[in-house]
Subunit: 416 residues, 2 copies
């Protein structure tokens, strides 16, 4: 099954918002075995929408559409669906009840005709209830292609997808299993790696695809396959990954599971009933911010301190000033002292600390740009490691966040 | 001038990465008067790329392409460009020198043939030097359409755009001026607003477009126009915005300038030579993280503390435990005490504090989900305000971040 994702809205085409919906939808579709053929972002214009629909219909079995379903005049998706499907809008009582209930419960203002019109839907559409908003999801079919129209507000769309669209697509019939593994390497460029794994790459079975994803001073190697026999698909990919480990074991630093390293670490802390505190300098609160995005983080996360100014490390974290003068603020000893300081202050089992120079200017330290020390304190030991993270500010920060979580992950795995 | 943006790479279609390049490119194109007609994300597949090129050529004057230019086998953009333009690859000595220099300067590994092949470019292409990487930008023309191919690595693409592509597009001739103003409202839904401004909306001049952008409990109203006469375009939009202010003055809370509230605040602190510290509970480090993304933030940002566990507020911020017991942790008095505590600890001029319940569960507090107090400490006073931020975790956090920055902004503007 092939899908096209169409996002409708001028705000994407003028760069006012980043389209995060599509990536989320693509991930979820992949999980149930649907391959995304293309993603299109188009304007709130009837002709443009109709031509995109026609293209998508000719190329895909499933077309997921977001945006343009608000009650105001600038939103034309529903009217355009009627034109495309040669259909007309009819009042859906169930949707009207839902809209009325939302207004009674959440909205102070009286309901107006414009809101009631949200219950006008194409007569050929099956309705998927939008628990969090007034615009319903609409499921229509044209020849052999399914069209699903949803609002663009991310949490409304996600709810509709999870509880309505994805289960319905799955129920249509046996979908293949799509499997990816992404191996994270560090220390060598993609051409060097490609040369080292050339024989292996040339001998890959036809159904296994390899992609090189260079970023942040690392190269990720993604192996993908799909098929109806889940265990065979996994076996094919796992087998070549095993081979890969023997060829470039020296540069493999882990496997990429998207943003989920922070989830893995949070889950491990919960399981082992341990708590965490963090002292962030060059990462500026990014690690805390990632952890607190996870519901229930308060069970394991005591808190963190961002000591951006050098003196804050002394004033707040009780790092010895003499140590800073002797070793400078970007040093192994200061990173260790920060981890210990924050561990003590927040009374946590584990602690992480980052201190470094992310550039572009040198700041309070003489350390060259890209130098980062990551400190770790556990119930039984403390240490810090030095990393050179390149000379691009955002990348230095991102790499430091990843590395700190990776070090904590190793420590947590080592608990008996 | 109409543009199409094409991003090439399976990683977008499987949802492994979010396409942030397109929004940035669309913004920059808008600034120089180029209208983005469509954004397409397609796979690393020659046939798919060629059909996208053909579609874009028929609809646009400018086609910006990113991705698929690495040295490895999975990248097919360059080869496909040759097929589409009936061209062949030739060695470009200038690019070869550049690639060789990059290897000598930054790469430990010896240069291999695969790297040298980065200097093979279509004979019809004009080269735009990629200072940060080995894949050059390529500018080709087909009939009246310009194609520009760039690598997908964001900082390489941005550099090529800023220093090569955008100036070159601008130099082609007089482009129109595109102007947007986005008015931020709070407190009423889009249908209520639409009803209130109906007469005004119906009388808008044809060249001024209105869009409703509901999000995070707010509705943004975007007014857009474009034309060759910059002052007339601005006058048209400014005039209707002035009218709008008189109609819904009670719900307008500001104008949206993207993410730049944090930049505005940082800049103001620099100008006034004041420093800031933050105590974050429900915002979990998000405010600190935003501020430290701005180069030079260390001049004004002393640091922050994330006190996620209730006891951390006592242990770390010296909030009186009796106060917490009397008023609960989500209260006006605790938010004020947090702001004062972190101001004192970090020795800052200003301080912000957030404490609230973002949900989904109630955590350490009895406050209903969505209740947030924001504390403010200035050199001369301290206070906290209560807000109800709804019942969706991410949205509560985002709204709290925005509101805290807004309160600080007001205080900084009040300095003589």
């Amino acid at each position: 099954m092939q899908a096209t994702i169409i996002t409708i809205g001028d705000e994407i085409l003028i760069g006012q918002i980043v389209d995060t919906n599509s990536a989320w939808m693509a991930q979820e579709l992949n999980k149930i075995g649907v391959h995304v053929h293309e993603i299109m972002s188009i304007s709130d214009d009837s002709d443009h929408i109709k031509s995109a629909f026609a293209k998508a219909e000719s190329e895909s079995d499933l077309v997921l559409i977001t945006g343009g379903l608000g009650p105001t005049k600038d939103d034309v998706t529903k009217k355009t669906i009627c034109e495309y499907f040669q259909d007309e809008l009819v009042l859906n009582e169930q949707v009207l009840d839902h809209v009325t209930a939302i207004f009674e419960k959440y909205v102070k203002a009286p309901i107006v005709q414009m809101n009631k019109d949200q219950a006008l839907v194409p007569s050929k559409a099956q309705i998927i209830t939008n628990e969090y908003g007034t615009a319903p999801g609409m499921w229509l079919e044209s020849n052999d292609t399914i069209f699903v129209s949803m609002p663009g507000v991310p949490f409304e769309m996600k709810n509709l997808m999870t509880n309505g669209v994805l289960p319905k697509v799955k129920s249509l019939g046996k979908l293949p299993f799509i499997y990816h593994r992404t191996i994270l390497t560090a220390g060598q460029g993609e051409s060097t790696i490609a040369t080292r794994i050339e024989d292996w790459e040339n001998s890959l079975p036809a159904q296994v695809k390899l992609a090189y994803l260079p970023s942040l001073g690392t190269v990720r190697l993604r192996l993908s396959s799909s098929g109806m026999d889940k265990s065979q698909v996994m076996k094919d990919v796992d087998h070549v990954v095993d081979q890969l480990y023997t060829i470039i074991d020296d540069i493999i630093v882990g496997e990429d599971t998207g943003d989920s390293m922070v989830q893995t670490v949070t889950q491990l802390l919960k399981e082992k009933e341990k708590t965490l505190a963090i002292a962030e300098s060059c990462t500026g609160g990014k690690i805390a911010s990632l952890i607190t995005e996870i519901p229930g983080a308060s069970q394991i996360f005591k808190g963190s301190t961002v000591t951006y100014a050098t003196m804050s490390k002394v004033d707040v974290l009780q790092v010895n000033q003499g140590l800073i003068e002797r070793d400078t603020v970007v040093s192994e000893s200061v990173a260790t002292a920060m981890a210990l300081g924050v561990q003590q202050q927040f009374k946590s089992d584990y602690a992480l600390a980052t201190t470094g120079n992310a550039g572009p200017s040198k700041g309070d330290s003489d350390a060259s740009i890209g130098t980062v020390y990551i400190g770790v304190a556990t119930p039984s030991k403390s240490y810090a490691l030095k990393f050179m993270m390149g000379n691009h500010r955002e990348r230095v920060v991102q790499k430091s966040v990843n590395k700190a979580l990776e070090l904590l992950h190793k420590e947590l795995l080592a608990i008996n």
